[in-house]
């Protein structure tokens, strides 16, 4: 008795503050196991201009590679106080910052493990659909064998690789269009 899937619409420009209690930028209190990391995502349009009215959401496994979700039934520890979900609107410079932990590796359905990655959703005025991508950590040796990175033409893989700046913060610019357009996923 399906009525059919509900279609997507833009988040529009005026959600900030009206999306009640929406924002979670500090995902990992100090007692959460794993390597604590600072991540800055920034959002850019096809002309390279920053997008100051976007929303980022992140979803990730904990340091053991376990998702806090009933469909992850593997016998790996869950960390109390770590859900793995973050949400922030972009600031005037188009960026959002998250404090979290570096996720562990999760399995690939055909065998083997994926490299550590964070799942990212992007919403904004002008985006009629959620766009999704992944953040990987540049220099992680597991990247070389990651099945998703291997699906992507080599010239575009760098659009998914966050780089560590001089302060140790991981930065990933996300380009909605233009010559550096980020690889987005249909997931």
């Amino acid at each position: 008795m399906s009525k059919g899937l509900t279609p997507s619409q833009t988040i529009g420009p005026f959600y900030v503050g009206t999306l009640v209690k929406a924002y979670r930028q500090d995902l990992a209190p100090p007692n959460v196991a794993g390597e604590h990391v600072e991540i800055v995502l920034s959002l850019h349009d096809a002309d390279g201009m920053v997008v100051p009215d976007g929303v980022f959401e992140i979803w990730q496994a904990n340091s053991h590679g376990r998702y806090n979700h009933p469909d992850d039934r593997r016998n790996l520890p869950l960390d109390p106080g770590f859900e793995g979900f973050g949400r922030a609107s972009t600031w005037l410079d188009g960026s959002s910052q998250f404090s979290t932990i570096k996720p562990g590796r999760v399995p690939w359905p055909q065998g083997g493990l994926q490299a550590p990655h964070i799942n990212v959703s992007i919403f904004a005025r002008g985006l009629l659909n959620r766009v999704a991508t992944r953040l990987y950590f540049e220099g992680d040796p597991a990247n070389a064998e990651d099945p998703v990175l291997k699906m992507i033409e080599p010239a575009r893989r760098s659009t998914l690789l966050a780089q560590r700046d001089a302060n140790g913060t991981w930065r990933l610019p996300i380009h909605l269009g233009g010559p550096q357009e980020t690889v987005f996923f249909d997931c």
């Binding site: 900030v16 009640v20 096809a46 201009m49 997008v51």
Partner: protein, 231 residues
């Protein structure tokens, strides 16, 4: 090859990223085709926000301030379902909207219409085991938005849902039945012809509260699972 866990949306369901009539899309819509990901644990898990505590009045947007907001009080309710008609139990539903005069409580909204100090415009509800959710609010006004000459958004309420996984995440808008602005709205009309009517709520006389408020029903359908179990 393993079967995918969540069904891919049928063609003709969602808007194209590039919808020229909506002038914000050309600069922001990705042009390259999205890479199809097999469904791994990263896609079939997602935030359930089950621990999130909702305050008693979060689903009543008419009682969040000192006094009652101006405008026509309405009930908005419905069910969160999957494509098989099964309820999505305990779903977190978030909404936001402008006030009865068509103005958002937001610094970026410069529309020359009054702000209502008694209306903030944001609410949350937790669906029950049957996927049923309820809000009490006021009917939002139409507002101008400069997309083209004399552009007005039809009255709408923004809805945000997570569903059971990263793959089921959905943000959408609910419209009111037979709004005369619908045929002229590029955002509503970005949805393919056969699917856009799903964004119109139904007037629900049976759920109205006599002498108090009219009611609208808006059922939300999220992606369903393929039949094969994952084990």
């Amino acid at each position: 090859m393993e079967k995918e866990i969540y069904r891919r949306p049928a063609a003709g369901t969602h808007p194209a990223n590039l919808s020229e009539a909506y002038k914000s899309t050309p600069g922001r819509a990705p042009r390259r085709p999205a890479v199809a990901l097999p469904h791994t644990l990263s896609e079939i898990t997602g935030p359930l926000l089950a621990e999130e505590r909702l305050d008693a009045l979060e689903n009543d947007l008419t009682r969040q301030r000192m006094g009652p907001p101006l405008g026509e009080r309405i009930l908005v309710h419905g069910r969160v379902l999957d494509e098989d008609g099964k309820p999505v139990p305990k779903a977190l539903v978030e909404i936001w909207q402008c006030n009865a005069a068509g103005r958002y409580h937001h610094p970026g909204d410069q529309h020359d219409a009054p702000l209502d100090p008694n209306f903030y415009g944001g609410g949350r509800a937790r669906a029950d085991e049957e996927g049923r959710y309820h809000f009490i609010t006021i009917k939002p006004g139409a507002y101008p938005w400069k997309n083209h000459y004399n552009a007005w958004r039809p009255a709408h309420i923004h809805f945000s849902l997570f569903g059971p996984s990263f793959a089921t995440r959905l943000i959408t808008q609910m419209y009111f039945p037979n709004d005369p602005l619908l045929p002229f709205d590029p955002i509503y009309n970005s949805v393919p012809d056969g699917a856009r009517h799903r964004l119109q709520a139904a007037f629900d006389l049976d759920s109205t509260r006599p002498e108090w408020a009219l009611a609208y029903r808006f059922d939300i359908v999220l992606r369903g699972r393929n039949a094969t179990p994952m084990e």
